[in-house]
């Protein structure tokens, strides 16, 4: 038996089909955000992907160098720093996740304590900005060789105290260039590195296993007292200033905090 499908039935059936068409199973934004960041980061990001496998032997060597606390030649350091195109910053991949030093104590914040963001800017020589989402800082320190500003948020509602840093959040700011290395990070296989769009640029988010980081002096030497493990961290540059946010928050929250820079 057959029946004629008149115009009304056809239209009704088409609308019925529309109501039953499947949409995406999950939120698409994280995947789209990654694609945007990857496209923005080219060619640096694509280079990183290509070189990850081939980078392993180099990383192993670097790990030994790091553990031994030896110095890297400026030229070699420059080449690595360019991988992520973050001024003043190097990120190494190392074959094993770094572990805390025995009897490691919570970090102490070096530099001159200042009482206001404006004063920090005057000492540092650049405009210091703070993320409004974190509220008022608990303490601000400025170092001058090389220049860097450390802003400490001892306790922020909703952000747990970091087991590594002993506070809710730390923001570090410095005016780096691709030719100068002020801070370095060593990340093992348990640490994830994601690129996300932020403002008109790209931010890099380190999460998972704590990674190791340390500051360098003006000669490029490791400052041993600054060598420590760090938790989830977002890194980005804006207006010639490199920013580092360390806080035990997820990617979305880290981006939200970074976007509130005033």
């Amino acid at each position: 038996m057959t029946e004629r499908l008149d115009d009304r039935d056809l239209e009704r059936t088409l609308s019925d089909i529309g109501a039953r068409l499947d949409g995406p199973k999950r939120d698409m934004w994280p995947a789209v955000r990654t694609r945007i960041a990857e496209r923005r980061a080219k060619p640096w990001w694509s280079r990183l992907h290509l070189e990850r496998g081939a980078f392993a032997p180099v990383a192993a060597t670097l790990a030994i160098i790091l553990v031994a606390g030896l110095l890297l030649t400026p030229r070699f350091a420059d080449a690595l720093g360019h991988l992520l195109s973050i001024p003043g910053l190097q990120i190494y991949r190392v074959p094993e996740s770094p572990t805390a030093r025995p009897n490691a104590s919570p970090p102490t914040f070096a530099g001159q304590g200042v009482t206001s963001v404006a004063e920090a800017g005057r000492v540092a020589g650049f405009t210091v900005r703070t993320p409004a989402a974190l509220g008022e800082p608990s303490a601000i320190y400025v170092e001058t060789a090389p220049v860097r500003v450390t802003i400490v948020y001892a306790s922020v509602k909703g952000i747990p105290l970091s087991p590594q840093a002993g506070v809710s959040a730390i923001v570090v700011e410095f005016k780096g260039t691709l030719e100068t290395q002020i801070m370095s990070k060593a990340i093992g296989p348990g640490t994830t590195l994601d690129a996300v769009p932020l403002g008109s640029g790209v931010a890099y988010y380190l999460a998972g296993q704590p990674h190791q980081f340390f500051f360098r002096d003006p000669a490029g030497n490791i400052q041993p007292e600054t060598l420590r493990l760090a938790g989830n961290t977002l890194l980005w540059t804006d207006g010639g200033v490199t920013y580092r946010l360390e806080a035990q928050v997820g990617l979305d929250e880290a981006v939200r905090i970074a976007s509130s820079l005033r």
Binding site: L10, I17, R20, L21, G23, P24, I36
Partner: protein
């Protein structure tokens, strides 16, 4: 965000000024429409999601060229549709597609008897089969009207044609659908 959701234009402007999370809100708002648009073209749900994601990415980088005051939805769908078409062309697949819908989803018309529900299901299968044999452009104009309920103005923007031609394009597409369907549907044994 609390209260009424922000207008598309507000979110677009924020995204144009570097607020990527505003763009994220637009992605969440239109991901279903974008995926359906791509699905009608590719006929493969996994590829449709991928094409939609690439479409959103391309649209993001094209935001600077987005005309202030223009509707965002059809502009986005045009980009997504182009992305899906390019994928189909690159894959060199045959012109027909196999479309399917979730049959286990409760119908909007709860007053259907079991017999009527069975008939409606057969009609869907039949029409989907005919739809899959249409040209891509015909599928798209039908989808915009019946699957996504776009207005004529939005359809014109999304299809890249004059507003006055939307009706005739839809009419021709429906005529071809009827022709392919042969005007008849099995109503059971």
């Amino acid at each position: 965000m609390e209260g009424r959701p922000a207008e598309d234009a507000v979110l677009v402007e924020r995204a144009q000024h570097g607020d990527t999370e505003a763009y994220g809100e637009l992605v969440r708002r239109y991901q279903a429409l974008a995926t359906r648009t791509a699905y009608v073209i590719t006929g493969l749900s996994t590829e449709a999601e991928d094409a939609a994601q690439d479409g959103f990415t391309k649209a993001y980088f094209a935001l600077a060229r987005f005309r202030t005051g223009a509707p965002f939805r059809p502009w986005l769908l045009r980009i997504v549709a182009n992305e899906a078409k390019n994928r189909r062309k690159a894959a060199g697949r045959r012109p027909t597609v196999d479309l399917s819908v979730a049959e286990d989803r409760p119908s909007g018309d709860t007053a259907l008897s079991p017999e009527e529900a069975a008939l409606a299901s057969e009609r869907r299968t039949f029409v989907l089969g005919a739809l899959g044999k249409l040209r891509e452009e015909d599928r798209l104009v039908i989808a915009y009207r019946y699957f996504m309920q776009l207005s004529e103005a939005e359809m014109a923007d999304a299809l890249g044609c004059a507003r006055g031609t939307v009706k005739s394009r839809l009419s021709r597409a429906l005529a071809r659908l009827r022709e392919v369907a042969g005007g008849e549907v099995s109503a059971g044994d």
